[in-house]
Symmetry: C2
DNA sequence: ATAAAAAAGGTGCAAGTGCAACTTGTTAAT
DNA sequence: ATTAACAAGTTGCACTTGCACCTTTTTTAT
């Protein structure tokens, strides 16, 4: 997993901060981030903490668009869609580093090796995010809950090569990730259990149909 | 819309080709692209033509993951998920330029201004793709066909600021994009028509609930 | 000009899903 | 230790959707 300042020394990171004229902000739990930092043409990096991008629908519904953990990057030029109603909220004490996008693509900076390393890191991070989005789409494209679950299992299985999958969040969050009703998802999990296709122990699901 | 060689002169493009040691391949209509170019650690650019990335499911079903038009970029490090069964097929005579990913992130290249311009272009293109994926996810997250349609309308409306939306592909393709059954989508479109919320003329849909 | 193929449009029906409204179990707070 | 809050698990019911199977219209090929 690539991080923004990977392969950079502390002194190089300081030089980078100077070069880009970064700003660092600290937010409290449940504090909104966007009123403080302007959301146009910037890239934000979560130095520490945890925040969420929420989409606000016409009816007031809030949908979690993205989880921003330590080392996540975000910004209008990266992940956010244009002219949408969204909010970014710190879910812990969260430290955010803000960079002007224009400074990031300024060719003058490219003579500094530490800057090039940084740019490559960002490039990699975006590519990883891109893959994650593609994975989610592949799941969401499935019409039936069963197929969504099986696709999710399949992907996790291919990543770990293990017969059992550990769900890194609550079942409620899994239902949101698959974009299905929570209780309907439970019903389908029960069906899969009844058919002896899976076993569930807490957040660990064993795929009985895989013989490795 | 950013293109890979935007802001570069012909001679700069030639220098870039030399620097990166690119390869250019031509494919016929319906020819598979992946057996010819190795699919590991490369970036491909469609110089001309039209191709599709297809995901092949366990049951043989083929799902169109991505349409690659002129100036689209693709590659294992960008859009394709790991260890999946996929195919890239030319849908016309298609010219593909192939670049080693390693050469692309080689810091030595960054002293050349034309290379920096190229890298910034690629960065922009990926970011645009990223936004498109996010848009699609926002639609796919909706549980009901009606809500998917309305979300799609809303996004297109926000882009064009027009009361009427032109669907740039067939209704069949729209159904695939929304990941719903085609005839069920038609039924819902009919309901929206009956409720005087929309008007449909060929591929143009007028949003009667928007008063501009 | 005609046939063939594809897209658009429609409908009955069965199956699947969302939703509401529970119970039970677990975690966090005082 | 007790309560409160949240997650997990379950179920009935109504509604939506997918699917199969049509017809009609439009596009493409010969």
């Amino acid at each position: 997993m690539t991080t923004p300042f990977q392969d950079l020394t502390k002194s190089q990171i300081n030089k980078l901060y100077d070069l880009l004229g970064v700003h660092i902000y600290t937010f409290n739990d449940n504090q909104e981030i966007l009123p403080t930092i302007k959301n146009e043409n910037i890239i934000g990096i979560i130095l520490d903490g945890y925040a969420q991008i929420l989409n606000i629908e016409y009816n007031g519904n809030e949908i979690i668009t993205e989880n921003l953990y330590k080392n996540s990057i975000f910004g209008s030029n990266i992940s956010l869609t244009n002219s949408e109603n969204y909010q970014i909220i710190a879910r812990q004490e969260t430290i955010v580093l803000v960079i002007d996008y224009d400074k990031l693509i300024n060719p003058k900076n490219l003579v500094h090796n530490y800057f090039n390393i940084f740019l490559r890191n960002l490039f990699d991070i975006i590519n990883i995010k891109f893959k994650e989005k593609n994975e989610r789409i592949k799941i969401l494209e499935k019409k039936q809950i069963r197929d969504k679950l099986l696709e999710y299992f399949e992907m996790e299985h291919k990543k770990s090569r293990l017969k059992s999958i550990y769900i890194p969040f609550s079942f409620k969050d899994l239902a949101d990730y698959l974009a299905v009703n929570r209780s309907a998802m439970f019903r389908e999990l029960k069906h899969l259990k009844d058919e002896n296709l899976i076993e569930i122990k807490n957040r660990r699901i064993t795929l009985l149909y895989k013989n490795l």
